[in-house]
């Protein structure tokens, strides 16, 4: 049978992927948003002909380039890591998962790579119009790139448009449009890219605030703040709207993830939304302990947000692990039993086929098809394994939401005082602008933690647990590469921050 790998090795492989993905995700959101801000700045320059806007564009472009380079460096490993560390995954779902990655390469990366060179080095080589077009193409390419990788990621959260082929022992694509246009893919793309726009706006506001506090480059800083605050405010609103949609799709497609995001153990009609809480980490599914030491709740709101219906039932961890007949929920415990039958029948089918025993093979295949939807659960050893880490997911989700609620206010305040012409006198706000930059990064990282930790223990939600998805490597091998990545990426990020800080201190070129 598909062998399960030593858990220690799997955990190191997970750690390595988490490490590389989180490092990569430090840089990508800024690229996503700053590329559009550059396009806005340069559009104003081309429209007005005012050289000050060109200087401004070039200054932010320098910071963009520093960030972009390390984003590229940390990104290449992710694509190949699917093969190196998750080779069984690559085989079992490569038929579906490889397509968006290839499309990303063809239609997004080349757009970015080709026009990036024009954007940086083409000021004196191409016309103003073509240069502006190139800057826009870098922005469009960045978002297209995000779209395709998020289509792939969304498919891991909500596998659709495919079927399992017992002969090839893999999932095969049946409908590419279902994969691309799945509701999870759309909401994930909208939410993630707009959060990148938000972060970049915070970054521009934060750096500009520092200039204002230092009394340097004031005109450039004020102009940057106005454009970034408008973009940030619009993005924040969109992040909120798409966040609600993303949470709704999670509720519909990944109810276990929603349950742990909210620390909801026992399902409820008229379920409350936990605004903040202190999780009881000793709590296990179906035991009698309270899930929280303390919490603030809004009654009924979770039911409304999760199902768009007041008073509706939202399943909790206990329901999803052990089932709930009243609400027709089949628990992981029952699905495990069905999954083990599917695995057994698949094995019988393969062996009978090899031995030429057609009758047995056919019977096994029929039985397999009856249970195949739960095959992934058959690899779990305990129904509680179907529960993602609760504390990490819960806190990450709530930190993200709380921070996401603060940012629109920050942009509003900057706009208000900008239009009143009093920004320079609001030192507290300028400090808040600087503080918002790290907070934006924390919101980004916690967002990814919710998405990925909340998917555990699955590589492909409900179909393929991580324990079956990884490569047949020794723990020592993965540990070695983990520490190499840790060391190398840490060195590079120190270099990146050091260069970035220096370039900010240098500021835009003199007139």
């Amino acid at each position: 049978m598909v062998e399960q790998i030593d858990l220690t090795q799997v955990n190191w492989a997970r750690a390595q992927f988490a490490l590389t993905a989180m490092y990569h995700w430090i840089f990508v959101p800024l690229t996503l948003g700053l590329s559009f801000l550059l396009a806005f700045f340069e559009s104003i320059y081309v429209r007005t002909g005012n050289e000050e806007w060109k200087r401004l564009t070039k200054f932010w472009m320098t910071l963009f380039g520093i960030n972009f380079a390390i984003g590229v460096a940390t990104g290449i490993i992710l694509e190949f890591e699917f093969g190196t560390n998750w080779s069984n995954y690559s085989w079992m779902v490569g038929d579906i998962f490889g397509a968006p990655l290839a499309i990303e390469g063809i239609f997004a990366f080349f757009l970015e790579a080709t026009f990036f060179a024009v954007m940086f080095f083409g000021w004196n080589k191409v016309s103003k119009g073509f240069h502006l077009f190139s800057t826009w193409m870098v922005a469009v390419g960045s978002s297209l790139s995000a779209m395709w990788i998020l289509v792939a990621n969304a498919w891991m959260q909500f596998p659709t448009g495919m079927a399992f082929n017992p002969d090839t022992v893999r999932f095969e694509m049946q409908n590419i449009l279902e994969v691309i246009l799945s509701p999870v893919a759309i909401s994930k793309f909208c939410h993630t890219t707009s959060s990148g726009f938000l972060l970049a706006s915070l970054f521009v506001v934060g750096v500009s605030s520092w200039f204002l506090l230092k009394g340097k480059h004031q005109l450039m800083a004020k102009r940057s703040i106005i454009v970034a605050s408008v973009f940030g405010l619009l993005s924040s609103a969109y992040v909120g709207f798409t966040g609600d949609e993303a949470a709704y799709t999670v509720a519909q497609k990944q109810p276990m993830k929603l349950a742990v995001m909210e620390g909801l153990f026992q399902g409820e009609t008229n379920a409350p939304l936990v605004v903040a809480g202190l999780i009881n980490s000793a709590k296990e599914p179906a035991d009698t302990q309270k899930p929280f030491f303390a919490e603030i709740k809004i009654p009924g709101l979770l039911s409304l947000l999760a199902n768009r219906e007041f008073g509706s039932f939202v399943p909790g961890v206990d329901d999803l692990v052990y089932g709930n007949k009243e609400h027709n929920i089949v628990g992981a415990s029952e699905r495990m039993e069905r999954g083990k039958i599917a695995i057994h029948q698949l094995k019988t089918y393969k062996e009978a086929g090899k031995n030429g025993d057609t009758a047995t093979a056919e019977a096994a295949l029929i039985a397999f098809h009856e249970y195949k939807d739960d095959m992934g659960y058959g690899y779990l050893n305990n129904p509680a394994e179907a529960v993602p880490p609760i504390g990490l997911t819960f806190y990450a989700f709530h930190i993200m939401v709380i921070l996401g609620s603060i940012f629109p206010l920050v942009f509003l305040l900057f706009l208000f005082f900008s239009f009143k012409g009093e920004l320079l006198y609001q030192q507290w706000l300028l400090y808040l602008g600087i503080l918002s930059v790290p907070l934006g990064y924390i919101a980004q990282q916690t967002g990814w933690i919710v998405a990925e930790v909340g998917r555990q223990p699955w590589a492909i939600q409900g179909l393929l647990p991580v324990t079956v998805a990884n490569s047949n490597l020794t723990t020592g091998t993965v540990q070695t590469t983990f520490f190499i990545f840790l060391g190398l990426f840490t060195l590079l990020i120190i270099a990146e921050i050091s260069i970035m800080v220096k370039q900010i201190k240098i500021g835009p070129e003199e007139e």
Binding site: A69, A73, I76, S87, S90, V169, T477, I499
Partner: protein
């Protein structure tokens, strides 16, 4: 029309597409080759900056082509992706490390407070151009010499050596393939710099360097060619799918259809012509002949490995675990869908060519660099 194509035709089309992308990558390795010239060819900081800024405007194309090569293989031949990357772990990881350190080096080398110092970033570029390409070459060599792995009924790979792919470098054929690619990349790099830079003392040294690298490449090329055309290869019985060893398999493949032979010899002649133009005729356009020649040689290599009932990723340990373009591919549906997607590739190539022309219509000079405020 595409929707009606046979599965086997689609598998062939995708091997051709993967081969084209892989071969274009070998041409674009002029960036890596140029990086290995940094410590020997330029005299002084300005010339070094000239080289880095010339290559720096193209490095992302090479990098992206590598990513696309990986993506195309993942989408079209996922069993290869899973087997090779999951099995030959160390060789791929080391290749990737060299590309990670390359990606930051152009941008960070000259920036103030870059933490590691300019010399370190230059060393990174050298490592990428030498060790990175050497390892890629040895990995390509295993398409002919085989690797030590087995697959179970569920296509899970078990690698038979603890070196995880690095053992390929102990085989002189694989090593020769790698060294040939390194020297060929240096030839291409030098020819590209001649084409892109207007600074005679430097380009004169580049011309000399191209010739020396070309001479160095010859023994390795000769060793690869002689062995390739005389070695026992991994043949596949088209009826049963059984893999067996066949003497002179790749020589047979060379003559089984005209394309590989024409590409191989035509490509080599073009490379030689490009080198001759650059090194002895004082021309600047040798890179185009060398580049097209390299693409053709690359296509020949990939076609010899994959077509005419041949296992393109053979297992020397368990013959029947060997991968062919037929048993390693994606499903009929996925290949069909991806073929529609591939119709966009000419459009992508067209805008790359247009932008290339726009950016390279004037050669780079030291005077221009002195005026530029955005420099690598």
């Amino acid at each position: 029309m595409i929707g009606n194509l046979d599965y086997s035709i689609l598998q062939i089309i995708w091997w051709i597409i993967a081969s084209v992308v892989g071969s274009l990558f070998l041409f674009l390795n002029f960036v890596q080759g140029g990086q290995t010239l940094l410590f020997t060819v330029p005299k002084g900081e300005e010339e070094k900056t000239l080289i880095i800024n010339s290559l720096g405007r193209k490095w992302e194309l090479t990098f992206t082509t590598l990513v696309l090569f990986g993506g195309a293989l993942f989408a079209a031949f996922p069993k290869f992706y899973a087997t090779s990357f999951g099995g030959a772990y160390w060789v791929w990881m080391l290749i990737l490390f060299t590309f990670i350190i390359q990606a930051v080096s152009y941008e960070y080398r000259k920036k103030e407070c870059n933490f590691l110092g300019a010399g370190t970033y230059e060393a990174f570029l050298f490592i990428n151009g030498s060790i990175g390409i050497l390892l890629i070459g040895t990995a390509v060599g295993t398409f002919f010499t085989g690797s030590s792995f087995s697959l179970n009924d569920y296509n899970q790979v078990t690698w038979q050596t603890p070196y995880r792919g690095l053992e390929a470098a102990r085989n002189f054929f694989n090593l020769s393939m790698g060294l040939f690619l390194v020297f060929n990349a240096r030839v291409l790099g030098a020819m590209y710099l001649v084409n892109n830079i207007d600074h005679k003392p430097l380009t004169d040294r580049c011309r000399k360097s191209a010739w020396i690298s070309f001479l160095w490449s010859l023994p390795f090329l000769g060793y690869v060619l002689v062995n390739l055309l005389s070695m026992t290869g991994y043949a596949v019985n088209p009826e049963s799918g059984e893999v067996f060893l066949q003497k002179g398999k790749y020589l047979q493949n060379l003559f089984a259809c005209p394309a590989p032979g024409l590409f191989l010899f035509g490509g080599l002649i073009l490379v030689i012509y490009g080198v001759t133009l650059t090194c002895f005729k004082g021309k600047n356009n040798g890179i185009w002949f060398g580049g097209v020649g390299t693409v053709l040689v690359g296509l020949a290599v990939f076609f010899l490995a994959g077509f005419n009932n041949t296992a393109f990723y053979p297992s020397s340990y368990a013959l029947q675990s060997s991968l062919t373009i037929y048993n390693a591919s994606s499903s009929h549906y996925t290949l069909t869908a991806m073929t529609y997607v591939a119709l966009g590739i000419p459009f992508v190539l067209a805008y790359i060519a247009y932008v290339w022309k726009q950016m390279n219509n004037k050669q780079l000079t030291i005077a221009e660099l002195r005026e530029e405020d955005e420099l690598y």
